[in-house]
C-alpha cells in the first residue's frame, strides 16, 4: 500500500487510494489537517500537529513551524536547546501522518508519494526525499503539487477533452500549472512558480501593520510568545478581510490590550507588491503552454491561501472568470497524491488514466561568451534542458574548453532562467580531467538526465577519448550524506513520540495553555480552575473522569472563543 502525503508549509495531510477513490485519512484528533508544527515538551516528548501549533504561543522556544521554507538550505532550527534540520522536523510530521494512516488502514506503511511545490529546486526535492527516509518511508515518487491538484480535479472532469490552469497558493509557495486532458492523458503543458511567495507572506503584512499602528510597545516585537499569538490572530484575520467590514486585531501584552482595525481596501493596498508577484508565473506558464487565458476551460484553486478573499478576487481578475472551487483547496493536493498512489499501484479503476509532467525550470552549465573583438566574459548560462520539457528526459549539450592547454573542465551546474548564472540557483559543480594541446581536443558532451521525481543526474563524456564521468551532484554542502542520514536516523528514533492514544488529551491541554495566555484577571483565574480540574483527571487516569472533564474544558474554551470572556460558573 502506498499512501499520498501533502507535506505543506502550514498544514499537512495524508490520503490513500481506497475502493477506487482517493480518501483522506484523519489524524488522532479526527481532523484531516495536521498543522506542520513540531514541539518538544518538558518531558522531552515530541508533539506534532495542533498541540505543537498551540505550543508555538506558549512555548515558542520549544516549538517550530514553517520549516518547509528552509528545506535544502542547510539552515538548522533550534528547538529546546537542540538543533534540528528542516528535513528532521519534516520527518517528524511525516512520521505522525504515517502513524495516522497505519491506525486507519490497520497495517504497516512503508511507501509514500510526497508532494512538493513544482518550483522546488533539486536540493529541496532531495531534502524532501531525505525527510521521507528519516520517517521510515520509501518515497516512491515526488509529485508536483499543482499536478497532484490537477489529478484530483481531472478525475472529477466530465468533459473528455479540456484544458485548465491550477492556481496553487500554499502557505509558503506559489505554483501555476497549465494542463491539457485528452483520451485519458493528463498532460502538464507548463508549470511556473515562486518559491518564496505564500499565505504566510500575507500574514506577515498584517503582523507588520499591527506592530506599526496598534501602539504596542517596541519590546513586544521581541516577545516570541506574543509574536506567535499575533501570527495566529493575523492568520484568521486575513481570511476575514473582505468587502467593507473592518477587522480588528486586539491582543494583550503584559496585561494591557492593544488593538488595530483595518479593512479589505487597506489590506489590498499593502498587499499590492505580493499580488503583483502572482502575475509572472501565470504569464509564464500560459505562454510556455501556448494556451491563451481565454481558451482555458477552467481555473482550479489549490492551497489554503486561496481561501483568502483578496487572492480569490485577484484570481478572478486575472482570468476574467470565477475560479472553480468544487474541491476543497486544502484537500485537493493530498487527494491527488492518493490518485497518483492508485496509479502507481496500477489500480484497475485507473487503468485508462496516464499522466505526464514537466520540469518547470531550465537547467544548464556556466559558459564563457566571446565579445565581438574576441575577448571573453565569464558568468553566462547555457541551457541543456529547457524548462517545461516533458519528463523523464535526457538532453546533451556540447562544449569546448576556452584555454589552449586546459587540463580540466570545471563544470558549474545551475538551474534557472537568467542569462547570468549569478541570478540562477547553483546545483553543484563537477571537475572533469581533459586532454587538450594547443587548442585541440578536450571537447565534452554534457548529458543531463532528469527523472520523473525531478531529480537530476549529469554525465560528461570527453569526445576525443570517450572517457566517461558519471556524476552525482553533491549539492552545495547543504545535502545530508548517507552517513549523516544514518546518524540522524538514530537520533530521531531515540526521540520519544507522544503516544497516539493520549494525543487528544495532550492537544487539549496545549490548547488550554494557549487560551490561558489570552485571558486577563478574573477570567484567567476562573479558566485556570477548569484547566486544573482537567489536569487532576489526567493524573487520576480515570478514563470516565478524563472524558467528562475534557468535554467540560472544551465547552469552556468554545465559550471563550465565542464571547471573549468566561461567565462565572460554580466549579
Amino acid at each position: 500500500m502506498i499512501i499520498g502525503i501533502d507535506l505543506g508549509t502550514t498544514n499537512s495531510l495524508v490520503a490513500a487510494w481506497l475502493d477506487g477513490k482517493p480518501t483522506l485519512i484523519p489524524n488522532a484528533l479526527g481532523e484531516f489537517l495536521t498543522p506542520s508544527c513540531v514541539s518538544i515538551d518538558e518531558d522531552g516528548q515530541v508533539l506534532v500537529g495542533r498541540a505543537a501549533r498551540d505550543r508555538l504561543q506558549t512555548h515558542p522556544g520549544r516549538s517550530a513551524s514553517v520549516f518547509k521554507r528552509y528545506m535544502g538550505s542547510g539552515r538548522a532550527l533550534d528547538l529546546a536547546g537542540k538543533s534540528y534540520h528542516p528535513e528532521e522536523l519534516s520527518a517528524l510530521v511525516l512520521r505522525s501522518l504515517k502513524a495516522d494512516a497505519e491506525a486507519m488502514l490497520g497495517h504497516e506503511i512503508t511507501e509514500a508519494i510526497i508532494t512538493v511545490p513544482a518550483y522546488f529546486s533539486d536540493a529541496q526535492r532531495k531534502a524532501t526525499r531525505t525527510a521521507g527516509q528519516l520517517a521510515g518511508l520509501k518515497v516512491d515518487r515526488l509529485l508536483n503539487e499543482p499536478t497532484a491538484a490537477a489529478l484530483a480535479y481531472g478525475l472529477h472532469q466530465a468533459e473528455p477533452e479540456s484544458q485548465f490552469l491550477v492556481f496553487d497558493l500554499g502557505g509558503g509557495t506559489f505554483d501555476v500549472s497549465v494542463l491539457q486532458m485528452f483520451e485519458g492523458v493528463m498532460e502538464v503543458r507548463a508549470s511556473a512558480g515562486d518559491n518564496m511567495l505564500g499565505g504566510e507572506d500575507f500574514t506577515q503584512l498584517l503582523v507588520q501593520g499591527y506592530f506599526a499602528h496598534s501602539g504596542v510597545p517596541e519590546a513586544a516585537r521581541d516577545d516570541a510568545s506574543f509574536r506567535q499569538r499575533l501570527i495566529a490572530r493575523a492568520d484568521v484575520a486575513k481570511r476575514e478581510l473582505a468587502g467593507n467590514a473592518p477587522v480588528t486585531i486586539a491582543l494583550n501584552w503584559r496585561d494591557e490590550e492593544y488593538s488595530w482595525t483595518t479593512d479589505a481596501t487597506q489590506f489590498a493596498r499593502s498587499a499590492e507588491a505580493l499580488l503583483a508577484r502572482l502575475w509572472r508565473p501565470v504569464e509564464g506558464a500560459l505562454r510556455d503552454a501556448r494556451i491563451p487565458a481565454s481558451e482555458l476551460n477552467n481555473v482550479v484553486l489549490a492551497g489554503g491561501a486561496t481561501r483568502m478573499p483578496l487572492v480569490r478576487q485577484q484570481a478572478t481578475r486575472m482570468f476574467g472568470r470565477f475560479p472553480e472551487s468544487t474541491l476543497d483547496p486544502d484537500h485537493v493536493v493530498a487527494m491527488g497524491a492518493a490518485v497518483q498512489a492508485g496509479l502507481r499501484m496500477k489500480d484497475a479503476a485507473l487503468h485508462d488514466i496516464v499522466m505526464t509532467d514537466v520540469c518547470p525550470y531550465s537547467m544548464g552549465v556556466e559558459v564563457a561568451q566571446h565579445l565581438p573583438d574576441g575577448s571573453r566574459v565569464n558568468g553566462f548560462y547555457s541551457v541543456v534542458i529547457e524548462r517545461n520539457t516533458v519528463v523523464p528526459t535526457s538532453r546533451v549539450g556540447h562544449y569546448h574548453p576556452t584555454g589552449a592547454n586546459q587540463t580540466k573542465i570545471d563544470l558549474q551546474i545551475y538551474q534557472g532562467e537568467s542569462r547570468l548564472v549569478r541570478d540562477n540557483i547553483k546545483l553543484g559543480s563537477i571537475e572533469v580531467p581533459i586532454t587538450r594541446r594547443n587548442g585541440e581536443g578536450g571537447d565534452v558532451d554534457v548529458r543531463f538526465t532528469y527523472d520523473a521525481n525531478g531529480l537530476l543526474e549529469v554525465e560528461v563524456v570527453e569526445i576525443a577519448t570517450g572517457a566517461r564521468h558519471q556524476l552525482v551532484i553533491t549539492s552545495s554542502n547543504h545535502e545530508l550524506s548517507q552517513e549523516e542520514i544514518a546518524e540522524r536516523l538514530k537520533i530521531l528514533s531515540a526521540l520519544k513520540i507522544h503516544p497516539r492514544d493520549t494525543l487528544a488529551n495532550r492537544s487539549l491541554l496545549a490548547e488550554a495553555e494557549r487560551v490561558f495566555q489570552l485571558l486577563l484577571g478574573a477570567n484567567r483565574d476562573r479558566f485556570g480552575q477548569w484547566v486544573g480540574l482537567f489536569e487532576q483527571a489526567l493524573i487520576s487516569q480515570d478514563e470516565r473522569l478524563i472524558t467528562d472533564r475534557a468535554s467540560q474544558l472544551r465547552r469552556v474554551i468554545a465559550q471563550i472563543e465565542a464571547n471573549g470572556f468566561l461567565e462565572p460558573e460554580p466549579v
Partner: protein, 379 residues
Amino acid sequence: MNLPFLEQLGLDQTADATTIRRAYARRLKQVDQEADPEAFAALRTAYEQALAWSEQPNAAAEPVPDAAEPANSRGQSHNSDPQPPPPDRPLVTQAHARFAEALQQWPNVELTEVLRTISTDLHHQAPDQHYLFQWQLLAALAQENAPHRFEIFLAADQVFHLASQSTHAPAPELRNWLDALLVQREAWITQPVGTRERQLNLLQTVQAGTFNRDNAGEIGQMLNRFPTFSSLVVDRDARERWKQAAEESGGIPDAPPPQAFSQAQPPGKRRVNPAASTNSRVIFRFLLFLGIGLSSVYRASMDNHRHSSAPEPSSQTTAQAGVLPTYQASANKAGAPDSFKTQIAACERKLGIDDRLLQGNNERSATARLAVARCIEAH
C-alpha cells in the same frame, strides 16, 4: 514513403492532430515512463514531431500553393506554433502611446517608474497582452531608431528583468540580439565607473555628431568591443557619419556592426540543438514590423519635442511604419515614403489578400499578415 514518426505512431500521412493525439494516448498507456524512460522519450519525440508536422500548413500531401491561404484544415489546434498575436490590440497600443507620451517629458520623468506603472496596468487589464507589449518595446529598441534607447533599455531591464527574459523571446533572432546585448553589458559594467562614464559620454558625442577626433581610437575600441551595447546610444546613421569622419582623418579600425539578428550562435559554444524553424523567423520579421512601427510612434513623439537636432535620416525602416493601420497616423507624421507601402500593396495583390482582412483581429487576419510578412521578406 511514410514518415518515420508517423510510422512509430502507427499512422500514415492522412493523420491529423486528433488521430495523432489518440494514437499517442493509446501507446502512452502501454509505456512505463519510469521503468523505460527511453521508450517514453522515443514515443514523446515521435508525438511532438507528428504534431508539429500536422500543424505545418504545407506538410500534407497536397502542398498549399502559397501561405496566403489562411484557411488551414490542419491548423485548428491551438497547439500550433505561436500565432503572431493580433497586433491591433487597443490596450497594447494605448500602453505604447502612454510610454511615448512619457518619453516626451524626458528627462523630467522617471522612465522606470512610468514603465512599471504601464506594465502593471496592462497586467491588470489584459495579462495576455503584456508579453506583446514587452517584446514590441524590445523590438523597437533593436531597431536603432527609437530615441532614448539607452534609457529605455535601463528602465526595461529594471521592470522586465531582461536577463531572465531572453529565453522567452518570440524568435531566436530577437533572443540573440538580447543575449549579445546582455553579454556586452556584463563586460562593460566590470570596468571602473570612471571608464564607463567616459565611454558613455564619448558615445553621446558620436550620436550628437560633436565627437573630437582625438578620441577616435577610444571610440573605435568601444564600438568594436561593445557594438550592440553601443548601438543603444549611437544609431546606424550616427555610426556611419562617425566612421566616415574617422576614416577621413585616417586609419580607424573598422567597427563591426552590432549583433545582426541572423548570427545564429555566439562563438565558443556549439550546441546540439535543432535549427530555428523558418516559422519563427517569419514571426520575428513580423515583430520587427511592429517594432519599426513603434519606433516611429516614439520617434514622432520626439520630433515634436526636438526639431532642432540633427536632421532625421529617412531610413528605409521608418518608411515601413505604414504596414499597420494602428501606427499609420504616427507614420504619416514621420513622413513615411511610399516605397514600402507599394511593396505591401504588391504582396497583397499577389496573394489576393485585401486590406480589411489584413487589419482584422482574428486568426485569419493573423495568418494573412504572416503571409504578407513572408512575401515581403522574400523580396
